[in-house]
Symmetry: C2
Subunit: 430 residues, 2 copies
């Protein structure tokens, strides 16, 4: 085969952008051998021209990234700016309209504007790829689109946010509380100054919305993800979970029922040590997939960081260089169904409820009465406390029951005189 050439522009020279430049420069020969194509960086854009430790000589500089969309010398635009509006969005839309392939690590952009982007890509016959948007260096998008192409996927469960996984692991291992661990994570660079996107579950939800679309052939709908973060997990919950034989993980879960209804949710879950991603600790991500032919597989690896994210971006660039194409969301847009979502009200599962109470006679009985009235079948109910002198907690573990029953029960229990704070509920996943 003769060697082709691919001219790319990189918009955004932060950690990931610089990582991509480094790989393309140091592994140029390797990538050329693997793709039979020479990848040339012909343009870059960033906010300032400071030294970033990479050689950008001879590469065209753009102060305004959106102008790259007009550069006739560029075949493929690599967007590493971030954000779901403004520059990133404008660059995406204009690049595709001008017939350029588009590679991005931007989960918010893909999760919120996926359908528009995919439609435009088809109209303009270009390739849009976003492996780095989900689970960093783990090639999960490629696995879902290509490696499992013959499978009807029924479920995905993933640890999709490294910050949360680091924090929950650290709470368990060090016995320090959420606020202390968050501060430490920020100092180590594992958490942003504003951690709300991570700890609030938004980041994981962006990724989950993309996985849901790829897995089930439905339009990506970020707004339909049920989201609950880890902000309210107390150290006592981590300890009680351990007593019960569980770990707490923030999971992104999607599943499809026999009759084609889709549930997608991000929430803290209690999982047993047998659960497929139970041993994935620290900043690692992991994605568990159930397919009708393949059965159960797990892909695990670093979910963030310069090297892993850049590795995924370069994999997309290599696909384009080698001419390997797949539809943006696995099937063409006209085949992407509008999903019929199952709301959390209809959700059925097992629950952990922690209720902080005053240490008075009859409290346990009063709580039990409410659960009985709401038809909730209880697996275990215990009154316990972490330290002597603390107010005790009533810890309930239920059998399978409806979320709406739990919601009603919690409302009633909260109003009881002896109940000190709003009961905290964690779903038990498996």
């Amino acid at each position: 085969m003769s060697t082709k050439e691919l001219n790319i522009a990189i918009a955004g020279l932060g950690t990931v952008g610089v990582g991509v430049v480094k790989i393309l420069q140091t592994q140029a020969e390797l990538i050329e051998n693997r793709t039979s194509s020479k990848v040339n960086i012909v343009a870059v854009s960033a906010r300032s021209q400071k030294d970033r430790g990479v050689n950008l000589d001879g590469i065209k500089w753009y102060d305004n990234a959106v102008d790259i969309a007009e550069d006739e010398n560029v075949d493929t635009v690599v967007e590493l700016i971030g954000g779901d509006s403004g520059t990133a969005y404008d660059l995406c839309i204009n690049s595709i309209k001008n017939g350029k392939n588009f590679v991005t690590a931007n989960k918010a952009l893909v999760a919120k504007h996926g359908k528009e982007i995919a439609s435009l890509a088809e109209e303009n016959d270009v390739y849009v790829a976003y492996e780095a948007a989900v689970a960093g260096g783990i090639p999960i998008i490629k696995a879902l689109k290509e490696g499992l192409a013959g499978n009807k996927i029924s479920k995905i469960s993933g640890i999709l946010n490294g910050t949360c996984n680091y924090m929950l692991t650290a709470m368990k291992e060090t016995g320090r509380d959420f606020a202390q661990i968050l501060k430490e994570a920020q100092e180590l660079g594992y958490a942003e100054a504003d951690p709300s996107f991570d700890v609030g579950g938004i980041d994981a939800a962006h990724k989950l919305a993309i996985l849901t679309s790829l897995a089930f052939g439905v339009q990506v709908e970020f707004d339909k993800v049920f989201i609950e973060g880890i902000e309210n997990i107390a150290l006592t919950d981590v300890k009680y979970a351990e007593d019960l034989g569980y770990k707490i993980k923030l999971l992104g879960l999607c599943s499809i029922s026999e009759d084609g209804r889709v549930n997608q949710r991000v929430c803290p879950c209690m999982i047993s040590s047998k659960y497929p991603v139970a041993n994935v600790d620290g900043v690692d991500n992991a994605v568990y997939v159930e397919g009708d032919a393949v059965g159960k597989i797990v892909l695990q690896g670093p979910g963030a960081g310069q090297g892993p994210t850049a590795s995924a971006v370069v994999a997309d660039i290599a696909d384009i260089a080698a001419g390997r194409f797949s539809p943006v969301f696995n099937v063409n847009v006209d085949k992407l169904a509008k999903a019929d979502f199952i709301s959390m009200n209809e959700y059925e599962g097992r629950y952990y409820i922690r209720i902080r109470v005053e240490d008075k006679p009859g409290v346990l009985a009063a709580v039990s009465d409410v659960l009985l009235y709401e038809g909730i079948s209880v697996d275990s109910i215990l009154q316990k406390s972490v330290s002597i002198g603390d107010n005790p907690d009533i810890v309930v573990v239920t059998h399978k029951t409806f979320e709406k029953s739990i919601t009603k029960a919690v409302e009633k229990i909260e109003k009881q005189d002896s109940v000190i704070e709003k009961p905290y509920v964690i779903r038990i996943e498996g």
Copy 2:
């Protein structure tokens, strides 16, 4: 995009062949949507025309699979016969020479004739794919070739044989010995009537040779794999391993040194619970990969069986249907270096040695003297026995030392009067 058509022939209608037919028939619409191509089964071949529970009406039948290579109606031949010579080999070579794409699950064929097959594929401009040949349903070939395209891979460590992993897990969990567990595995269908390919490490070595080539850009050389099976692992070793904080797993390992020298070996290894694939039990396979950009990733899933293997075969068919191409061994044949292999004599690592001895004074000292003489630094040396009345074992754990020193020491120790049987050595991997 308009829908194309791909006409395939399936040679071999055993478990996997029937699995492929089932997926292609039941998921026809899904695959067409994902590949924008209609996959037609136009020919099949098998030894007998018995009922296999799939509808083969209207599909051309061949008694002799090799004749498929001459069928002008066939674009892509799917070989699921097995064996590295005879029909499978002839069908492969003739199909490629006649310009047909070739998909196979045949690890022996690819491991032994890889270079010839890849050269022919390039000459004839066809696509050869073999995802199912390594680790069943896990898309590890695709991950190495495409998902990690920007990475220089430095190491792979895999549980590549489900039979061995099942047996080692069962020995540990049930406390029953090799012979008992093998019999049980055969009854459950997890082990063949002639188990030597599996328990002898040959099957894992076929797979490892393929991974080595893909990872390091070298010619596949099955003959250069150091192979040791699990036949000599005694229940006592499993127990002593547990005492030492290790599990025993049959690993396929390949690594490349700073100066480009390659080691590839299949052997039982002791690994700690922190080792990446330590928690992979039962019939599951898992592959751990270290790349310079991505860091450490693990892919885990079922390594055999109808569904998983057929899933991988169909993924290859889908790639061809969608026109997604990559070189047979990741780079073109003229770029595949001839590897400089590190022999096991040059190998350096930590070792477990079990020496069954008569219970006499001075035995421990005599063994220690030999180790000292060979310059082997000892981490721990203990005399112990599993049951009262048994001959005791001297159990040695070494610090890092050369394999050649261990070999010499074992030869000398074996000759000592008080030593009852040949000492058994297991490498400690991590």
